[in-house]
Structures are given as structure tokens and as C-alpha cells.
């Protein structure tokens, strides 16, 4: 019953869209019918060649289509840029959160750089790194860096002093307090930052691919525009949406498990 209700509005919209496109009121170049998009999507996703056991494993064949290769290229860039960005932001954020002197030293610079959207770095990124993966990775790193940094700082600074007191009272030295109390207590904030950072990284990868590289989901929909393949554009957009949803769900599952002790989380 609930599933039926959840599907009702999308189904009606799709039906209306299909009817509109078939009526001839709009050009299929501007708005192709959903059925046409679906066919194009299948063609985009399907392995290019028939299954031939002599030429490699089943999984490699399954992912040999254009869409899986594009999706993997985009996800690999997100993973790489996010790993670098979060990998830099996490230790820096912990340090800035725990040491007010370091915070005072670096905070002004960060406050000036933080509001600049990563997209605005595109010209500089191309100037510095040329075209290809390096500028894309740089932009994604930048996109992931600040959300993780800001949330980590906030997480460390907002650790309830009562936990610090309890730990010191039980004989913990400062390093142990940091490692065994501040770190886990800040974890909910840190993970929130990572989830936001991953979301930004995913936005940035699409933009970066439109500009700097010639693979990936972002590149593909811009390429499709050159040929007026509006059905492929929409299929690509839907793929981007699903990939983003998958990343967020995965992250949310991981958070739920890591924070299973946390009050706000069910289960």
C-alpha cells in the first residue's frame, strides 16, 4: 500500500510526459519520451559486444558497456579526491580543534578560502595542472576538504568536558584522553562532515568532467549534447542521480554502524 502510494506520483508524471512527447507538441530533440530514454539507457549500459568466454571473465564483460565504464571512472575520481581531501582535513581538523593556538593561526586563512566554491577554482586548476585527471582530482579534493575540516574542528571543540573529566579522573594521560575520548566523542561530527564532503565531491566531479577530461558521467552528458542526443543526456542524468543516491546510502549505512552507540540513531 505504501509502495503503491510512493510510486503513484512518479508513475503519473511519467505517463503525462510520455503522452506529451507522443502527441507531437514538443520536438523529441527537446524532450524525448521516457520510453525512448529507457531504450537509450539500456543501450548505454549494455556490454558493447556479445559474451565471449575466451576474452575474459563474466564480470569484466558485464562492466564493458559505456555506462559502467563512465560510472567507474567518475566514482574512482570521487574516491581518490575524497581520500586526499578528507585525509588532509582530518588530522588538520583534529589539531585545530584540540590546540587553540593552531586554530588561531590558521582559521583566518580558512575562513577566507572556505566560501570560494570549488567550481571557481576551475580556471586556476587548469592553469596549474593542465587538462586530464590532475585538475579534476584537485577540485574534488578541495570540495571534500572544507566540510570535513570544519566539522572535525567543531566535533573536537564540542566534546563534553564531563567525558574529559571522567577520563582524567580514571587516570588517563593527555594523549590517551585525545585518542580514546576526544576522537570517538567527535566522531558523529566528523562523519557528518564526511557525508557532506562526499556529496560536494560528487557535484564537483561532474563539473570537472565536463571541463577537464573525456571520460566519466559528466563528460558523457556534455558529449551527448554535441550530437543532440537528448535521450542520452537524460539517461546520463538519471545515472548520476542513482550513483549519488548509492553513495549517500552507503555512507549513511556506514555512519549508522559506526555510531550504533549514539543516542540519535535507531537500531
Amino acid at each position: 500500500m505504501r509502495i503503491a502510494r510512493a510510486l503513484l506520483v512518479p508513475a503519473l508524471l511519467l505517463a503525462a510526459w510520455e503522452a506529451l512527447s507522443r502527441s507531437g507538441a514538443v520536438s523529441p530533440l527537446v524532450l524525448p519520451a521516457p520510453s525512448q530514454v529507457l531504450l537509450r539507457w539500456v543501450a548505454y549500459a549494455r556490454p558493447a559486444e556479445p559474451w565471449d568466454p575466451a576474452r575474459g571473465g563474466a564480470i569484466a564483460w558485464l562492466f564493458s558497456g559505456e555506462l559502467p565504464r563512465d560510472a567507474l571512472a567518475s566514482l574512482a575520481r570521487v574516491a581518490g579526491g575524497f581520500a586526499i581531501g578528507a585525509g588532509l582535513a582530518l588530522p588538520l581538523g583534529l589539531l585545530m580543534g584540540a590546540r587553540p593556538a593552531v586554530h588561531d593561526l590558521l582559521n583566518p586563512l580558512i575562513q577566507v578560502l572556505r566560501p570560494i566554491p570549488p567550481i571557481a577554482f576551475i580556471p586556476l586548476a587548469i592553469l596549474w595542472f593542465g587538462l586530464g585527471n590532475p585538475p579534476a582530482l584537485f577540485l574534488i579534493t578541495l570540495g571534500a576538504f572544507f566540510p570535513v575540516l570544519m566539522n572535525t574542528i567543531a566535533g573536537v571543540r564540542h566534546v563534553d568536558t564531563i567525558y574529559l573529566r571522567a577520563a582524567r579522573n580514571l587516570g588517563a594521560d593527555e594523549w590517551t584522553v585525545f585518542r580514546r575520548v576526544m576522537l570517538p566523542a567527535a566522531l558523529p561530527h566528523v562523519l557528518t562532515g564526511m557525508r557532506v564532503g562526499l556529496g560536494v565531491a560528487f557535484i564537483v566531479v561532474i563539473v570537472a568532467e565536463m571541463i577537464a577530461v573525456n571520460s566519466g558521467l559528466g563528460y558523457r552528458i556534455l558529449e551527448a549534447r554535441e550530437y543532440f542526443w537528448s535521450d542520452k543526456i537524460i539517461a546520463g542524468m538519471a545515472s548520476i542521480g542513482l550513483a549519488g543516491l548509492a553513495i549517500d546510502l552507503l555512507m549513511s549505512r556506514l555512519n549508522g554502524w559506526l555510531l550504533r552507540w549514539h543516542r540519535g540513531i535507531e537500531g
Binding site: R168, N169, R180, R263
Partner: protein
Amino acid sequence: MGEAEPAILMRGVRKVFAAGGREVVALGGIDLSVAPGELVCLLGPSGCGKSTLLNAVAGFSPPTSGTILAGGRPVTAPGPDRAMVFQEYALFPWLTVERNVAFGLEMRGEPRQAVREKVAAWLEKLHLRDFRDRFPKDLSGGMRQRVAIARVLAIDPPMLLMDEPFGALDALTRRNLQDELLRIWAELGKTVLFVTHGIEESIYLADRVVVMTYRPGTVKRIVPVTLPRPRDPASPAFNELKKVVNALVMEEQARHAVAEMGAAAG
């Protein structure tokens, strides 16, 4: 009491806070001595500085002047010889019950096997065995405070500092934990310094009730409680004592109320 060295000795303990450009004298020169194995309650209205005094003994917040000796040594920092039980439990929410109780033992670098055995024994003693794999968020307030008590008892401290530990619990759970505390105290002979604003609680538990004045906090009167344990709060002797202590506390409560209204008017 004269012959043994006191477990806690406070001499001229003063604490001054700066609040909004004004100086607030929270503690106005406290002299107090607690004998080893004694259970002493600090009693007074909120703002009398009883928690401030406890925090000073714990080493969280040193006094502005005066000295505190614990076990004969001056207090300079927090330490496991003065184990604290907080009103808010202060359990580490990311650790299970078992791992919370193990924390202090791990800090001492005890071998894993010894930690496991001690933790198991304390969980058993405080009826927590079936909850050892739970996280604090899945426990009731009373259970959480049991875990907090097990956590400090596991490191076998000579004294316990308790900051309104049962203040957030319902009446039945509170009585239950008071009895548990008395049982453990009688068995282990720990020195206990117990902060409360509950008049009945202080008489039910303490060897001596230290009634404190409202700001600056000083010792108003020390009321010895000689009633045999277990004490019956419905008995005439208990109620006589309650009247005496109540009168002392109400005088300070009245000063507190006047001061608050004055602050609101000013």
C-alpha cells in the same frame, strides 16, 4: 578520629569566580576533615558551593587559596585515588558497559586477563552481568549510575567523590541505589564524600552531615548522625534529626531566594 591521619583535609579553602566583571566568592574558607572510612554528606541549597568544593577535592578546579590534602598528599590534579561519580553518569557512550568498567583498569596498564576478571566480578556485584554488551544509551538512569559506580570501584580507590549521583533518579531507584552504596561502603570501608541537596538522603546515608551556607559557601553546622543502620526514615528519631537539618537548610534557602530576587530586581 584524632589518631588516624584524615582521608581528606581541607584548610581555608576559598574559591573566587569572576562572573560578568564581578567577583563571586563561591567558597569562603572551608575547614573540614574526613576520616578514613567515613561517609560524609555535603548538604545545602544550589549555589552553596558544595559541588565546587567536591571539584576542588577531585582536582578538576583548584581552589583560589587554601590547601586540600587527600591521603596526606596535596591535591594538584585529578587522579584515580579520588574516583568521581557524576550526576550525569559521564559514561563513555561509545563504549559498552563492560568496556566502560574496564577503562580505569586499562589506564593502569593491567594485563588483559586481570582486567577481564575484575570487570566480570564488578558487573556481577552490581547486578549488571546481563547488560555487559549494551551501550549506555540503552540503559535506564539507575542502571547507568550502577555502571558508573562499578567503573570507579573497579580501580579500587581509597575514596569516592559523589556529586549528587542519585539526583536524577526516581524515588524508588534512588532508595535502591542508596542501599547498594551503603552495602558496598560497609563491605569495602571506602571514604565517601557525597554531595546532595536531599535532606532525607543525607541523613539516610551519612555519618556526618555538613550543612553549608549560601554564597559564600562555608560550613554552617556539622550534624553527626548516630542512628544505627539500616535507618528507617519513618522513625521518630530520624524525623527529629530531619527537622533540625531542615531548619538549618531552610535558613540558607531563604537567603538564596532573597539573593536571587535581589539579582532579578537589580
